[in-house]
């Protein structure tokens, strides 16, 4: 069963089109929803929660129709909004217990699950302090905890890395990866930064101005190419000449050389030539497509 399925989904606010004829089928796992600010990511999440009614088209989440099964969907989906949503005068424990009960958990289970989930997101002693004193990183963890406390089948995370420093960003991405693998909960995570999502996502949906730009699995996006990047210690002009003489296609890119190794023999030629010239081979790396290329050349025809 597909996790999310949309057919010609459209949402208009007057003359503004936030989502424009989106047809996409998302499988279970961690999926990134990428787009510039205002591309319609948050609108899409609210439609998935059954909070906004689509102008046209239809969508199902966990096999439930968003137009008619809103409450059932919200019982089994967790949502972490982009904006701040924590009252400062209660502790994380009290708040998450309350939110667990608001998802229908009996009080005893709500307490147990709160203790569990706060530990999983990495909040320890500070969970008994009022949340007004928390750092941005801790606040993001509580927001994540309240989205997970009722053990949903799917969590929708709206810009979870927003406002975090690089270390906090890494922690959050690692948590998201764990939610998908260790916890076995499917994740839809939005970001306007492709680079950070390609590290944790199984699939990527790229939208621009409410339209689907590309939908692919990370593996295919970042598939290997027949190009090997080499970096040498020393003058590269001689090497460049020798390689071209040997019939290897090579391009110079600053300190790096990109070599086409479509023919397996090219590896040996590169090694022998470098050794023959007495140069040091610093790096020999298979080049991968970067996901950012979706937005540049390769994405234009999608």
């Amino acid at each position: 069963m597909s996790l999310i399925n949309t057919q010609g989904l459209t949402k208009r606010y007057g003359a503004v089109v936030a989502v424009d004829g989106l047809t996409v089928d998302v499988e279970a796992g961690v999926t990134g929803l990428v787009g510039a600010n205002g591309a319609g990511k948050s609108t899409l999440l609210k439609i998935f929660l059954g909070l906004l009614t689509a102008t046209e088209g239809r969508a199902t989440v966990l096999g439930l129709d968003v137009a008619t099964k809103g409450p059932e969907i919200r019982e089994h989906v967790g949502y972490m909004p982009e904006h701040d949503c924590l009252p400062p005068d209660v502790s994380a424990t009290e708040f998450v217990v309350h939110m667990a009960r608001m998802s229908g958990l009996p009080t005893t289970s709500a307490r147990e699950r709160t203790a569990d989930i706060l530990r999983h997101v990495g909040l320890y002693e500070e969970r008994y302090r009022p949340m007004g004193d928390y750092s941005t990183g801790m606040r993001q963890r509580v927001k994540l905890a309240q989205a997970l406390v009722h053990d949903p089948g799917l969590v929708l995370l709206d810009e979870p890395t927003n406002g975090l420093d690089p270390a906090g960003r890494d922690d959050m991405l690692e948590l998201i990866r764990r939610i998908g693998t260790e916890f076995g909960i499917s994740v839809i995570v939005t970001s306007h930064l492709l680079g950070e999502l390609e590290r944790v996502c199984d699939g990527i949906v790229v939208i621009d101005a409410g339209r689907l730009l590309r939908h692919s699995t990370t593996a295919s996006v970042t598939a290997t190419t027949p190009i090997v990047t080499i970096e040498i210690d020393g003058e590269q002009a001689a090497l460049l000449g020798r390689l071209r003489e040997a019939g290897v296609s090579v391009v110079s890119d600053g300190r790096l050389l990109h070599v086409d190794v479509g023919d397996e023999a090219a590896y040996d030629i590169v090694r022998d030539t470098v050794a023959g010239l007495g140069l040091g081979l610093v790096r020999l790396e298979q080049r991968r497509h970067r996901m950012s290329e979706i937005f540049t050349g390769r994405g234009a025809d999608a």
């Binding site: 919200r74 209660v90 608001m102 229908g104 958990l105």
Partner: protein, 297 residues
């Protein structure tokens, strides 16, 4: 790790990994009831910091103290009736009720708007209508406690002063019905006014201001009308302020003595009062639902 290491009392924490929840998921009525109780507790500052308990309990004290004093005095001096009637009690202490409403309405409703917690409620099974129902009921229950507890203590005092129950009960029951209506009418007004601004201080000032202005307006228009001897018009001036409105319903419909001498004129007057009170409650509910529909979309 061998089991022998798990001797009781060593307090080792084991990471047992993520556990799924397969227990019951209770439906909307459980969630609404939980939110109602949470709102009621929150209105008295329970489950919050010690500082947030000061105001509600101070005001509860202000409401309760006179009833206790009246009971003691009535018993000591052997009065044959209470010096302050059941149905007059809340009206007489309306300033305390107004301040309670002003200080606690923003606690009940504006927090969710100001800190955008509302988004988290609406991403859960509860609908906006059910959310508003729980909040409104919680606020009304808090106001009912604030007014019904002293009214009941008044009855207890009267019985301890050995006043006959048969004399006391009818008026006490009228007063309790009045407390219920006060709770619904005032709670609605307080929440609607507080929900208009996410800022707490502004909410407090606005709620207290609106009620004081309405009371003042009612008093002066009523006095003017009496001065000109127009009894019918003067009888309807009670519609201006929520306190005189509820007082009018209790007096006109349930036959209590009007606290102000401007009872609604006749049966029709009583019906008009009741209709206005009910419309006010329904209107406040509708306004709150509309407010929260706008809050997240």
């Amino acid at each position: 790790m061998p089991e022998t290491d798990d001797a009781p009392g060593t307090g080792a924490i084991h990471d047992i990994g993520y556990r799924h929840y397969d227990g019951p998921r209770l439906g909307a009525s459980y969630i609404r009831r939980s939110l109602f109780l949470d709102t009621l507790r929150g209105a008295f500052g329970l489950g919050r910091s010690a500082r947030s308990k000061v105001m509600p309990f101070l005001l509860l004290g202000v409401m309760v103290l006179p009833s206790v004093v009246i009971g003691i005095v009535a018993g000591y001096f052997g009065f044959d009736a209470l010096p302050l009637g059941y149905t007059e009690y809340v009206f007489t202490l309306q300033v305390a009720v107004t301040i309670f409403l002003g200080s606690q309405s923003p606690v009940v409703i504006s927090r969710d708007l100001r800190f955008q917690v509302a988004a988290l409620y609406f991403s859960r099974p509860l609908s906006r209508q059910e959310y508003v129902q729980a909040k409104y009921a919680g606020m009304a229950a808090a106001l009912f406690l604030l007014t019904a507890v002293p009214t009941t203590l008044l009855l207890a005092g009267a019985l301890l002063a050995e006043l006959p129950l048969a004399d006391q009960l009818p008026d006490y029951l009228r007063a309790m019905a009045g407390c219920g209506l006060y709770a619904l009418v005032l709670g609605g007004i307080g929440l609607v006014v507080a929900a208009m601004t996410p800022r707490r201080g502004l909410g407090v000032a606005a709620v207290v201001g609106v009620l004081l202005v309405l009371s003042g307006l009612q008093a002066s228009v009523g006095a003017l009308a009496s001065e000109f001897g127009n009894d019918t018009f003067s009888g309807y001036t009670g519609l201006i302020s929520p306190y005189t409105l509820v007082d009018g319903v209790v007096a006109g419909l349930l036959g209590a003595e009007s606290t102000i001498d401007q009872a609604p004129p006749g049966t029709w007057g009583a019906i008009v009062y009741l209709t206005v009170a009910l419309l006010l409650v329904v209107g406040c509910y509708a306004a709150l639902v509309a407010r929260f529909r706008k809050a997240l979309s």
